[in-house]
């Protein structure tokens, strides 16, 4: 008795995409214009609160002081934990600072 070599027909199924819908609630935001130089500028270093970050930023601040003439460093803790903003500090940076470095994530 001969055996059929044809593959059985497999039914196609239609299923729902289980994922939620993107909401496009995030709006693109350009970066702030860059500076020509850091010499003579006020640069904020802001510790966001992860372990070891503040000590690292102290070392980074010392490097900048040694290597960038006339740079003024403001090393700060951000208020609250790493997931929260600090509007007061951010306003101060906008008013008095030329640049800001946030760190250190993770």
């Amino acid at each position: 008795m001969a055996h059929s070599t044809a593959q059985p027909v497999r039914a196609l199924r239609t299923v729902l995409d289980p994922r939620g819908q993107p909401t496009a609630e995030v709006r693109p935001s350009p970066l702030a214009p860059r500076l020509d130089t850091l010499q003579g500028k006020t640069v904020y270093l802001v510790d966001i609160g992860f372990g070891g970050g503040y000590d690292f930023l102290e070392e980074a601040a010392a490097w900048l002081q040694r290597n960038v003439p006339a740079i003024k460093i403001e090393l700060r803790h951000k208020r609250g934990n790493m997931f929260l903003g600090d509007p007061e500090l951010f306003a101060e940076i906008k008013a008095r600072g030329d640049a800001v470095i946030f760190g250190v994530g993770g």
Partner: protein, 461 residues
């Protein structure tokens, strides 16, 4: 700056926020590294770019912007069609696994027919928006409808009778697996009449894998977190070890009938006849591994076990067998609240131990620095001074579950984030009923357990 372990995450994260931020990556980790090592990091190279680290920081602040930095485009935002391309069962199962749209286990495919059947479990409009969710702190949320929730419920193996509870969970808009590197756990339990109507287990082995309703409701929360909360390994989910509780989220029903205290939802201000699911967030669970009252009262054992936790914001939840609640009542705790107050008063920890925790460093120290009490006052104390870090009785919870074969409890650092009403999601015709035969078997089993308790001479009331 972000440490090198998070280079991929940081790039994606900033693009998801609609920006092309300039990152520099010191080596990982920074935490716990001696000062001279941190200095070497600063003097050394970015391990991702290979360039000298601090000159790269200077460049990031001074090098002119590229066109994409001036006018970035968001990474996401395209609408997704309702249906996937038709395919065979095998190929679709593979597609779900390969895309990580499931929990690593086989799923029930959410066909149109199955989802339509699932929707008989609620009177809500399939197109009604239930909420938005993301497991991250600030990234774009995904929006989901009743039908999307039903699709994930099908995948979890749930039936229509479970849908009102799953919809209530979804309405909480909280993922069961936060993005955090710390590998969170979650817990969810149900109070009220729906426990019995859909056959949840609140008794013997309620937290073990023996009950369909407990299993599929807990699993549905995980699947919703993956698909509706945008949980993607290494892209949005960064839990270092992960957490085994993420599979089912400690899903059970409270054993109201065998508890000497008010049901949890009644303690939270709901009526006893309301059905409610309460959800919790934390990390850890410790089994007391012994009988309450054998050698020392349960409340004293609780104080010892609590030393294992960092006591971050002073939240604890005890998940206890009815025998433990009875024992505690015999010790004079007539309500769960009285136990909470006693714990707050009697648990003490050296302030140096409290602030020595990494978790407290991240979340308690900023409060102390910002002058928030009692953290600011604790911060000024000598290290050996004893403090009472559980200072808010409303954050000490107890829930009763179990089959009274052992007077044990779980001590967890779980905090209740929400208690969510279920009844609004019920179908107008009443909760979809399981098969009569299955219901008969379940009732017979419950009757046998109740008879065994009565025969043992033990009666709570």
């Amino acid at each position: 700056m972000a440490s090198g372990r998070f280079a991929e995450f940081a790039a994606t994260d900033s693009q998801n926020h609609g920006m092309n931020l300039r990152f520099t990556f010191p080596p990982y980790p920074l935490v716990g590294r001696p000062r001279e090592v941190l200095r070497q990091y600063v003097e050394g190279r970015d391990p991702i770019s290979g360039k000298p680290l601090m000159p790269q920081v200077v460049d990031a602040l001074t090098k002119p912007l590229s066109e994409t930095e001036k006018a970035p485009r968001p990474l996401r935002g395209a609408s997704r069609p309702r249906l996937l391309k038709p395919d065979t069962e095998e190929n679709l199962q593979q597609l779900f696994l390969e895309n990580s749209w499931a929990d690593g286990l086989p799923i029930i495919l959410p066909t149109e027919e199955r989802v339509a059947h699932m929707l008989t479990g609620t009177s809500a409009d399939p197109n009604e928006v239930v909420g938005r969710m993301t497991i991250t702190t600030n990234q774009e949320k995904l929006e989901y409808t009743v039908e999307k929730v039903a699709a994930n419920a099908v995948m979890a193996g749930a039936g229509p009778e479970h849908l009102p509870v799953i919809l209530a969970l979804a309405a909480g808009q909280e993922g069961s697996m936060p993005s955090s590197t710390t590998s969170f756990a979650r817990m969810a339990f149900v109070n009220g009449p729906i426990r019995e109507e859909i056959g949840m287990n609140s008794g013997l082995g309620a937290l073990s894998p023996f009950n369909h309703a407990n299993a599929v409701i807990g699993r549905a929360w995980t699947l919703m977190t993956i698909n509706l909360g945008d949980s993607r390994l290494g892209e949005t989910f960064m839990g270092s070890t992960g957490n085994p509780l993420n599979y089912n989220n400690m899903c059970f029903a409270e054993n109201e009938e065998r508890s000497v205290w008010d049901a949890f939802h009644v303690q939270r201000g709901f009526r006893k006849q309301e059905s409610v699911i309460s959800i919790f967030r934390g990390w850890s669970v410790i089994n007391s591994m012994g009988a309450a009252g054998c050698c020392r009262p349960a409340q004293e054992e609780m104080l010892l076990l609590l030393q294992a936790f960092p006591a971050l914001h002073g939240s604890i939840t005890f998940v206890m067998d009815p025998l433990v609640a009875k024992h505690l009542k015999e010790q004079g705790f007539n309500t769960a609240r009285q136990l909470a107050e006693w714990i707050c008063k009697n648990f003490k920890m050296p302030v140096g131990q409290y602030f020595g925790s990494d978790l407290v460093y991240s979340f308690g120290n900023p409060l102390a620095r910002d002058g928030v009490e009692p953290y600011a006052s604790w911060w000024k104390l000598p290290k050996e001074t004893l403090i009472a870090p559980y200072y808010q009785p409303e954050l000490i919870n107890s829930v009763v579950v179990g089959g009274e074969t052992q007077a044990l409890w779980f001590t967890t650092d779980m905090v209740c984030s929400q208690s969510l009403p279920i009844d609004k999601w019920r179908p107008k015709s009443g909760v979809y009923q399981e098969e009569e035969q299955a219901a008969r078997r379940r009732y017979a089993r419950q009757k046998r357990h109740a008879a065994a308790l009565v025969a043992s001479g033990y009666d709570l009331k």
